[in-house]
């Protein structure tokens, strides 16, 4: 889908526009500087949620919806021609079983190609894809150039090297291999990281001058805590994360790092790795409520998210959403890009609640 955002075409009935541009507001927020109003991001509505949103807001596209809501971040998906998913998150065919091959339905736990391989020298028996064959450089440039430069143009890179390493073996096997045969785990995750570094290089070169930020990440948390102990993450996963962040920084890009779940014990690590904003602060996960994060990290980093999408946005009334946003604004006068606590807007979120969220943000 080409970007067609043109701010002159539509009015924003959800409150007066602020005195800062989208980009100024975003940069001030992640630098913990004063803002005219909170920075915000709609997130990524899943296809099943789109018709309801368009109908409710009486718009023709998500681009028009974003103008109406007046959020600050414009996501640009990496154009990756690899059917059937055509999504870079599905670049590796590790699974031994057939599956739907959609970004949200990748196999993590099914047996993977490396399930029975314990010799790191055999890592290249897997047909590692060359991203240059699939990543559409011209479309990347076109998409980035078409986006309104007032927006924070964010490349949705994901580059989920840890999750892919889990899929490479089958998650349960992968996590055991990590402890029992770390050389094997490292050989695989390093090759995955190399793939993403090359893919990202192609994308960053193609979009140079037309991109402001990137979204990368892996899910490290469950509802109650980290899935993997911090030491193992530091040893086996964060070296790759560091390379991905450093690469983005070399292109002058701000880095938003995503991880679902309860990740409090590694937030300091992410800060030290160079992350500019931590997404999505899954509000109902242990220790991830805005108050706890403010106490631990206010002024040390910025966050993106905070409006609970597990209960509040799904079941709450608009006035409850409004109250939550006002609470977030009180807690974080800056340093928080207000957004749903999961980037995927699912069809069970009533559009009226999305409206209430942005009314409260922009009021």
């Amino acid at each position: 889908m080409e970007n067609k955002i043109n701010n002159s075409n539509l009015s924003s009935p959800l409150g007066a526009r602020g005195s800062m541009t989208h980009k100024e507001r975003f940069l001030a927020t992640i630098a913990n500087q004063p803002v005219d109003r909170p920075a915000s991001w709609l997130g990524l509505p899943v296809p099943a949620a789109v018709p309801g949103l368009l109908e409710y807001f009486k718009v023709n596209s998500i681009d028009e919806l974003k103008i109406k809501l007046d959020d600050d971040i414009y996501p640009i998906e990496v154009p990756y021609n690899f059917p059937p998913s055509n999504h870079i998150a599905c670049a590796f065919k590790f699974a031994k079983v057939s599956h739907d091959d959609k970004p949200d339905e990748r196999t993590l736990t099914a047996p993977g190609f490396f399930e029975d391989i314990d010799d790191p020298t055999l890592v290249d028996t897997f047909p590692w894809p060359d991203p240059a064959l699939y990543l559409d450089v011209e479309a990347s440039r076109r998409l980035a150039m078409a986006a309104n430069p007032d927006y924070v143009r964010m490349g949705v890179m994901w580059s989920a090297h840890f999750q892919d390493a889990c899929a490479a073996f089958g998650m349960e096997k992968a996590l055991m291999v990590m402890l029992m045969n770390p050389d094997m785990f490292t050989a695989v995750i390093d090759r995955i990281t190399e793939f993403y570094l090359k893919a990202n290089e192609l994308f960053y070169e193609a979009t140079k001058g037309y991109l402001d930020a990137v979204l990368i990440g892996n899910d490290f948390g469950s509802q109650n805590g980290l899935m993997v102990d911090p030491d193992s993450l530091r040893t086996y996963v964060f070296p790759g994360t560091k390379k991905l962040i450093d690469q983005a920084k070399r292109y002058g890009l701000k880095v938003i790092h995503h991880s679902c779940g309860s990740i409090y014990p590694i937030i300091q690590d992410l800060i030290e790795l160079g992350v500019d904003s931590i997404h999505p602060i899954q509000a109902l996960a242990a220790d991830m409520d805005a108050q706890t994060l403010k106490k631990g990290f206010a002024g040390k980093t910025s966050f993106c998210g905070g409006v609970d999408a597990q209960h509040l946005l799904v079941n709450g009334k608009p006035n409850e959403i409004t109250a939550k946003v006002h609470e977030l604004k009180q807690l974080f006068p800056t340093g928080l890009i207000i957004s749903p606590s999961h980037e995927a807007i699912l069809p069970d979120i009533p559009p009226a609640n999305v409206e209430a969220m942005f009314n409260a943000i922009n009021s």
């Binding site: 055991m176 402890l179 469950s222 996960a285 209960h311």
Partner: protein, 223 residues
């Protein structure tokens, strides 16, 4: 001697020492694991019931407790479960001939529409470690499959999991169908977006915020 073997076995399971060849945990490298110690214990006359109750269940209970307190994480828990399985293999003949009894049968699956099974798999391991026979129906389990399973195992307890807000709402019709087929069936639900209130509202008998809570509930209803 027998007590010492049970303690050693318990330690292997608690710390994930599967067998002699396993390099994990580093402090137990080169030492026999759950596999060898179970064999040795049986040869020494330790009863399968003692192995199950005094070593395996107690060790997995400690594992569950540490996991719920974030003192260990998924990889360590998986290795403990693997060590437990290495021991259980030697007990299978005794389960088959009825000389050792399990606490009951536990049927589990993710609700239809939901493909996320990490939580379900972890809970299954913990339930097996708590002394239950587990029938894992897998992911995206249709209502009919749950019903068929409870009809075939009318005294079983059922566990249903969901990760998404869009799929957790499918749990209610599953519970209704199960209870309609075998009314006395107890059902426990779990998954990231669930709460005790939601569980009660859909007619579930139990809710586990984490695996350990689920195990405690199972222990309570099977006591």
């Amino acid at each position: 001697m027998n007590q010492e073997l049970l303690e050693k076995l318990s330690e292997c399971v608690e710390f994930g020492k599967i067998n002699l060849a396993s390099p994990y945990p580093p402090q137990m490298k080169g030492m026999p694991g759950a596999d060898e110690i179970t064999k040795e214990a049986l040869e020494a006359g330790v009863t399968p019931g003692e192995i199950l109750n005094e070593a395996l269940i107690s060790a997995m209970n400690k594992v569950g407790q540490k996991f719920s307190e974030n003192k260990i994480f998924v990889p360590q828990m998986l290795l403990s479960a693997k060590a437990m399985s290495a021991s259980m293999i030697h007990l299978k003949p005794f389960f088959a001939n009825g000389s050792v009894k399990r606490k009951g049968i536990f049927i589990i699956g993710t609700v239809f529409g939901d493909l996320h099974d990490i939580g379900k798999n972890l809970f299954s391991m913990m339930v097996e470690g708590a002394g239950w026979e587990v029938i894992d129906l897998g992911i995206d389990v249709k209502i009919e499959k749950f019903v068929e399973a409870v009809q075939q195992n009318p005294n079983a307890v059922v566990g249903i999991s969901a990760l998404l807000t869009t799929t957790m709402v499918h749990m209610k019709p599953v519970i209704e169908a199960i209870k309609s087929a075998v009314p006395e069936t107890k059902v426990i639900v779990g998954g990231a977006p669930l709460s005790a209130e939601f569980a009660a509202s859909i007619g579930a008998d139990g809710y586990g915020k984490n695996p350990q809570e689920g195990i405690l509930w199972l222990d309570k209803i099977s006591a």
